[in-house]
């Protein structure tokens, strides 16, 4: 059983016990523990269940690569699933629960899946769930939903805060082992701005575990001195608990800082996302030990040989009492020697190689440890945990030679450099035959804007596994990076280290090499997703030759650990099955983040009110104070309606329409785009942008204009105002202001740059209020001023400027409602005062504000189109009966050529009409007009669709606009419209102008 040793554990503060709970059980650990080490110290080896077969799972690793020990951490507003116990620092009151089992971790009904494993092969989901089709909805989908996902999703709002942090540095060093420390030290000596980040809470990496003499002294001494030296440099920043998450184009890096995961509290951000721009990046991210593939390698009690050393040295925890070590290299003998030196029992070292005569194996034998070369594990014995191993020859098929009772199997399949960050942005890998791993190819590094490499690797991340080589390489990497960033490093001598020689590793991808199907189907590659050697072989047999396809078919490496332990072993099996070399098969793509980061960190401060900036008109606060029911329009909020008393929103809309038509209404139209276009060539330029003629618009006049894309489709509309000889004011839709301003600038700057034109987006400079209704003139006249508002002086589609009351105003006689209407623009700073003045002056006339829905209804009653309702990016003005707004005189304008194409002139294009339901009801929005027959897909043919539909309070019935095949020629015809969940609705084709077709009301 795993247990705490009476002494040792260099991270521990044994005088500081910490209480925590696991599945409700109260346990005790020490300050400095991880959740994994504390669980093991308490003899809790079973920590979870695997995803597919619900197999019992124990801790297998000691760091970020852990696939098994995932827990639900915290409760309520601080619940988070899938937290790695190996990287979760223990804190007082920590609450963890295990995942993926029911009813309990010890007894799990889902484990039946394991017995059915024969029926759940690779690609099971793809094969099983295809047919019959009806099963999908009622059987398969509920089953998959039930079994999907490991942990529980929190259902309460996150209690914590998160933040983003931007920084620019010359040299970023990722990884705080001896390589990272040395690289940062040398780079720092140049005066360059250096940032050194380390994902764990400690400096020094694994050097402390595998004791090395550096410069003749204990490594601990050198690490401490180097950290001190770095802290003394003003140009160097050091941060622990910061993980290099991703490397992106041109030296952009995301790093993930866990500020108080180890000490949850209010008042501090929980996570901080670092957005780093680095001229040069040195990744010193180390290496990860690989498991070996033998039958039963997934049982609790089987773990990585290096992890066992980490738990012994860092946490004073032994994984068990009697260990068998299984290896294909010399490094694993360090575990044997360490166990032996601590007085723990090593039953045997099973070495797959024919001989093992390096200094470490020799030392092991001298210590009296049984070493079996040329041997393999035929299978691990035990059901819920390791009880022993059966030994066989590596070259055979698994005939058992001997059995050894033990409770720990420590495995080592060699080391794989952590190449993720190098690979994120295009760094290529090379297969190193001697060390049997992929390592970065320094000749094919990620390239920066200047064409030179901007990422360098060093240390074990480069494939160097001996301390003296690592330190020399890191020294050079730090100097090179500083130099490449434009600084002069002080080159001294690299520290020296003493490491024993190691005999070469022998690649062993399967144990024993002739294992039959029975054994292969018990050899786990991906512990979390339950992908076994037999699954990858089956995928290869079934024709999945690409490693990317095999990954998705088998789900190898698709779990939360992203295959940190399984990738290389899996592709070795695949390449063997395909009869290809490992480098020819290649790796799957490494994608950020290196380990999962919280959604909170990605969002940062952008939540709640800060999620998105809100644009407010000068009258926004008045609207809010007067009960506006808001509607988001772009980044604005516009009042949809102003319900009064117990009114529903719907009732308010109907009242607002009625009041505007019968008395007078006020609309806050400030959000409409207002773009000033000025210059000697402004008229010629606008003639190119609008479909109609703009340059001939007389001074003092307004004109409705259409804009189309070069591809012919309508993109915006609005009223154009001739302000002066050389300047026009172009109104755009609310949502279109920035886009249309950008559109103008694009054509000005990139096509017609010889034109002398200046544009300015003045949208927010003015408050604009539409005073609408039969009493509109009376209200404005009641305010006084020097503007003559009568019909003769200021006729429809004219404008003027002067003073209304005390306000500087521009008055446009334009109408989007069909009523007598003045749109009045005043400087934004006077907007609220003017609004209040209008309300006061209008009181005797029964003035009421109205919102966007009343606006929409009134424009629909008049048959005016709305960009985004009648248009959807596929509609041209000709579809909407707007031929009159397309110039025939102009030689050129955007969309002219496009609209000449035969598809655009096709008489079968659906055309705008009005629609009236036979029974007076309101047509469903987006409903389709049914036609006879069905198309080749068996779908009902259609002959039109509804683009706008409302209840008209003016007419007391439903009205709609729509596009219908040959519509304008079919007046009076009754069509059937789709009605989801009900019988089709009949509607008659009518003119789209429902109200005041002669336009008398607006022209008084």
């Amino acid at each position: 059983m795993s247990a705490r040793l009476p002494k040792g554990g260099r991270f521990l503060n044994r005088s500081q016990p910490i209480e925590f709970s696991f599945n409700g059980k109260q346990l005790q650990g020490f300050e400095g523990d991880t959740l994994a080490s504390a669980l093991m110290a308490n003899g809790q080896q079973l920590v979870g269940r695997s995803f597919k077969y619900h197999r019992p799972r124990g801790v297998v690793a000691s760091g970020a690569e852990e696939p098994n020990a995932l827990v639900n951490l915290g409760t309520g507003r601080r619940l988070e699933p899938n937290q790695r116990a190996t990287t979760t620092e223990l804190f007082e009151g920590l609450e963890a629960t295990s995942q993926n089992h029911w009813p309990s971790l010890e007894f799990d009904v889902g484990a039946i899946n394991a017995r059915l494993s024969r029926f759940l092969p690779a690609g099971f989901y793809y094969k099983m769930f295809m047919w019959p089709r009806a099963f999908w909805k009622h059987v398969y989908e509920p089953f998959i939903r039930q079994s999907a996902g490991l942990g529980k999703a929190p259902n309460a709002r996150d209690a914590d805060t998160y933040e983003h942090f931007n920084i620019t540095v010359d040299v970023l060093v990722i990884g705080g082992g001896i390589a990272g420390l040395e690289a940062a030290r040398v780079a720092g000596s140049s005066g360059a701005q250096v940032l050194l980040i380390e994902q764990t809470a400690q400096w020094g990496g694994r050097a402390n575990v595998d004791a090395t003499l550096i410069d003749g002294a204990d490594e601990e001494h050198w690490i401490e001195a180097t950290v001190d030296a770095l802290e003394d440099m003003d140009n160097v920043r050091l941060r622990t608990r910061v993980m290099g998450a991703g490397v992106y184009d041109h030296g952009y890096v995301l790093a993930y800082e866990r500020l108080c995961d180890h000490d949850p509290q209010d008042g501090l951000p929980r996570h901080r996302l670092w957005k780093i721009r680095a001229r040069q990046i040195v990744t010193a991210t180390g290496a990860i030990e690989r498991p070996l593939s033998f039958a039963g390698n997934d049982l609790p009690g089987v773990l990585l040989a290096s992890a066992q050393r980490d738990y012994l040295i860092n946490y004073g925890v032994s994984a068990g009492d009697r260990t068998v070590i299984v290896t294909n290299n010399d490094d694993a003998y360090r575990t044997a020697l360490m166990l032996h030196n601590l007085g723990l029992e090593v039953k045997a070292v099973i070495d797959a190689r024919a001989e093992a005569n390096g200094p470490l194996p020799v030392a092991a034998r001298e210590a009296g440890i049984r070493v079996e070369t040329g041997k393999a594990i035929a299978k691990v014995k035990g059901v819920a945990r390791v009880e022993g191993v059966a030994i066989c020859a590596q070259v055979g098929e698994g005939a058992v030679l001997d059995e050894i009772a033990c409770d720990v199997v420590a495995m080592s399949g060699g080391w794989s450099p952590v190449v993720h960050l190098w690979s994120h942005c295009g760094g290529k890998l090379v297969w190193d035959d001697a060390q049997a791993h992929f390592r970065p190819d320094p000749g094919k590094a990620p390239i920066g804007a200047d064409g030179h490499a901007f990422v360098h690797t060093t240390g074990a991340a480069s494939g160097l596994l001996k301390s003296d080589e690592i330190l020399q390489n890191a020294h050079d990497a730090g100097a090179d990076a500083a130099k490449a960033a434009g600084h002069k490093p002080k080159r001294g001598k690299a520290p020296t280290a003493a490491s024993p020689d190691e005999a070469p590793i022998e690649p062993v991808w399967m144990m024993p090499q002739g294992a039959g199907h029975e054994l292969r189907s018990k050899m786990w590659l991906d512990f979390q997703n339950d992908v076994k050697v037999s699954d990858v072989q089956l995928a290869a047999q079934e024709g999945f030759e690409s490693v990317e396809h095999t990954k998705r078919y088998t789900t190898l490496g698709m779990a939360t650990d992203q295959g940190k332990l399984s990738n290389i072993n899996g592709l070795a099996i695949l390449s063997k099955s395909l009869g290809a070399d490992i480098p020819a098969v290649g790796t799957t793509t490494f994608r950020p983040p290196y380990t999962p980061i919280s959604m909170g960190a990605i969002a940062g401060e952008a939540r709640g009110k800060l999620f998105q900036p809100l644009r407010r008109t000068p009258m926004h606060d008045w609207h809010e104070a007067n009960g506006a029911h808001w509607e988001p329009v772009g980044h604005w909020r516009r009042p949809y309606a102003f319900p009064r008393g117990s009114e529903t929103v719907e009732q308010a809309v109907q009242r607002e329409v009625k009041n505007t038509r019968e008395a007078v209404g006020l609309l806050d139209a400030s959000t409409l785009g207002k773009i000033l276009v000025k210059g000697p060539d402004a008229g010629a330029f606008l003639d190119l942008l609008y479909t109609n003629m703009v340059s001939t618009l007389p001074l003092g006049r307004c004109r409705y204009g259409l804009m189309c894309s070069e591809n012919g489709f309508l993109i915006d509309d609005g009223v154009i105002v001739r302000l002066s000889e050389d300047s026009w004011l172009c109104h755009t839709t609310t949502g279109g202001a920035d886009r249309i301003h950008g559109h103008m600038e694009e054509w000005l700057q990139t096509e017609w740059w010889d034109m002398q034109v200046h544009t300015a987006n003045l949208t927010e400079q003015y408050a604009q209020i539409a005073v609408v209704g039969p009493d509109a003139r009376n209200v404005l006249e009641a305010l006084g001023g020097d503007i003559d508002l009568d019909a003769e002086t200021l006729p429809f589609m004219h404008w003027t400027e002067g003073r209304i009351g005390d306000f500087d105003a521009r008055v446009f006689r334009i109408s989007f409602s069909g009523e007598l209407s003045y749109e009045v623009a005043v400087p934004a700073s006077q907007g609220l005062a003017f609004w209040n003045a209008l309300l006061k002056a209008g009181e005797v006339f029964g003035v009421m504000p109205y919102g966007t829905e009343a606006l929409h209804i009134m424009r629909a009653e008049k048959g005016f189109i709305m960009i985004g309702d009648e248009t959807d990016g596929t509609v041209i003005p000709q579809d909407l009966g707007l031929h009159w707004a397309i110039s025939k005189k102009k030689a050129d304008f955007l969309s002219k050529r496009a609209q000449e194409r035969d598809h655009m002139t096709d008489p079968d294009r659906w055309q705008l009409v009005g629609l009236e339901t036979v029974d007076g009801s309101v047509l469903p929005d987006g409903a389709y007009a049914l036609a006879e027959g069905r198309n080749e897909n068996g779908q009902r043919n259609t002959q039109g669709r509804v683009t706008s539909t409302y209840h008209s309070p003016t007419l007391g019935r439903g009205i709609a606009m729509g596009l219908v095949l040959h519509g304008p020629e079919r007046m009076g015809e009754v069509l059937k419209f789709t009605n989801i969940g009900g019988a089709p609705i009949e509607a008659r084709i009518v003119s789209p102008v429902f109200y005041d077709p002669e336009g008398k009301k607006q022209n008084v």
């Binding site: 804007a449 070069e710 694009e746 740059w753 030689a891 050529r897």
Partner: protein, 109 residues
């Protein structure tokens, strides 16, 4: 996350400040052009693996459009230059040829 130098305001702009605008140096075909010419102008775009000329706008900056010569595989940037030209300037051209000998340009005959 590219960084491109805005030739107008002089800022080394982060990609978050920039809006992409597709292939540079398109010749506009308007009224009077053939269907084939208009189709090519409107829809047919180069998508090279290697050197490419692109339009960018310093949208969240000075607002100006400019051109960039960039390698689509390595993200090496050979230079940025004015949007008011119909082909890459000589110095950009020479710089690319210097770094990528044998590079074929459709603007060199």
């Amino acid at each position: 996350m590219l960084i491109l130098h805005c030739p107008y305001c002089g800022v080394d702009a982060d990609e978050t400040e920039l809006a992409p605008g597709g292939e540079a140096h398109l010749k506009r075909f308007g009224p009077g052009s053939s269907d084939a010419e208009f189709e090519a102008y409107l829809f047919q775009r180069e998508n090279p693996k290697g050197v490419h000329f692109e339009r960018w706008r310093h949208a969240n900056g000075c607002g100006k459009w400019f051109h960039a010569a960039r390698c689509t595989t390595t993200n090496e940037v050979f230079g940025t230059y004015s949007a008011q030209v119909t082909e890459p300037p000589r110095d950009i051209h020479d710089k690319i040829t210097g770094k990528r000998p044998g590079w074929l340009s459709r603007w060199l005959s």
